[in-house]
Amino acid sequence: MNVHAVRAIYGFEMARTRRTLLQSVVAPVISTSLYFVVFGAAIGSRISNVEGVPYGAFIVPGLVMLSLLTQSIANASFGIYFPRFSGTIYEILSAPISPFEIVLGYVGAAATKSIALGAIILLTASLFVPLRIEHPGWMALFLVLTAATFSLFGFIIGLWADGFEKLQLVPLLVVTPLTFLGGSFYSVDMLPPAWQTVALFNPVLYLVSGFRWSFFGQADVSVGASLGMTLAFLGGCLALVTWMFRTGYRLKS
């Protein structure tokens, strides 16, 4: 294990975060606060309780997931795409470092940032609504697993993209819709029966549901299913990234 190299990549990525502190931390906090104003205050005044939880509090786990997903993908995809774009990737490719270590450095940094962001959003949220966390251990587990999984997913997008448009494409066209439709702002029970079935095909639903369960002890699907879905997605991403490195996909000609 080339610990120095992992540390170098991780440190490089974290330094990049520090340089762009405003857009990487302040911006999500502002947008989360806006969600609170719009959904929590405006809509929440009409919907008093969802399954016994005040609406303002009910949307917190979904909001955290929304930011976690989009930020993990954005960070990790940019982190690996940019050296490919600028050409500095030559150094990574010629270094005595294994694919696993490269992933650990980049994805570890992106996940760290997302987790910190999740914590910041939770803190921001607690200023607006009283929060209780029933299963803190599970909450932390879902937070870390989701951040790691979607950072890895972002890393894959960063390897796959051959232009800045493509870098935006997947988050914009796939992830954001899935997150909004994944029960971030409502319980699946609130949907018409037919749509409830459709919603079950949305992988993000399982993440939001599991995460919400760790707060309020209630979920749309079982915690086992949530955990299973997260792990399955993580496994799929790991397999894909392994294949990419083995074939040199878009990294080496």
Binding site: R16, S94, P96
Partner: protein, 308 residues
Amino acid sequence: MPPIISVTNLSKTYGSGFQALRNVNLEIRRGEIFALLGPNGAGKTTLISAICGIVRPSAGTISADGHDIVRDFRAARAKIGLVPQELTTDAFETVWATVNFSRGLFGRAPNPAYIKATLKTLSLWDKKDSRIMTLSGGMKRRVLIAKALSHEPQILFLDEPSAGVDVELRQDMWRLVRTLRDSGVTIILTTHYIEEAEEMADRVGVISRGEIILVEEKAELMRKLGRKQLTLQLQAPLERLPPALDAYRLELARQGSELVYTYDTQGERTGITALLRDLAAAGIRFKDLQTSQSSLEDIFVGLLRERA
């Protein structure tokens, strides 16, 4: 002593179907300065990239200091430093950060004293806190050299080190290369500037269209392929040469005021004595004479023409 780099039957065909390397076999000796000489597009960068692990070979094997670059990539790559042809740097990083990053990436524990000394050697020390994007092209090239040296490599690749570089940096660089060689580092540089190979190299390899067409000690190459020319300034210009001198294949230059005789330094006899005697017999008198030796450039052009 076993070669420090050995390339065996290496071929590379890019995804586009273009074959950039054809069955390359090459051995680099420990501690030498090796110049890989070839025109643009010959495959120099591809060859270096294959050795450094940036390009995947289509066939063949490569080892660095006895380590196979695929099976034993960690040991092999830890030995190698690469200064790429393109000025690819992180714009927002400081010089200090980027050079220390490289050292870590190559698996070495931090050593600020060594990095400081390297930056000083490259006249970069007072720029250490500058962001790279604020530096000139020449300074960026120095940063790339510092990055390549950051992990104290045993083998250093310089891909077109003089491209777009001012005289001062070129001289600094050549001085540095010699110092490194004296400390035991093996240096492989690619260039299409012949003077660079001529000035720096112990051995020269010529690559053209993906094939190594010649590898030779520079001195040997000069001797073997070097031709000399004897130029005679005539007292009176000649219209044409007398047929008696046909055997010498002389050329008339400068409106017949100069005679040029080309001879092989390798030959048993140069034929100069006979030529001078026959010139006197033909009544051709000269007022001055010079000899000149062909440069690597002449040799190189000759070689490529031969194969075309």
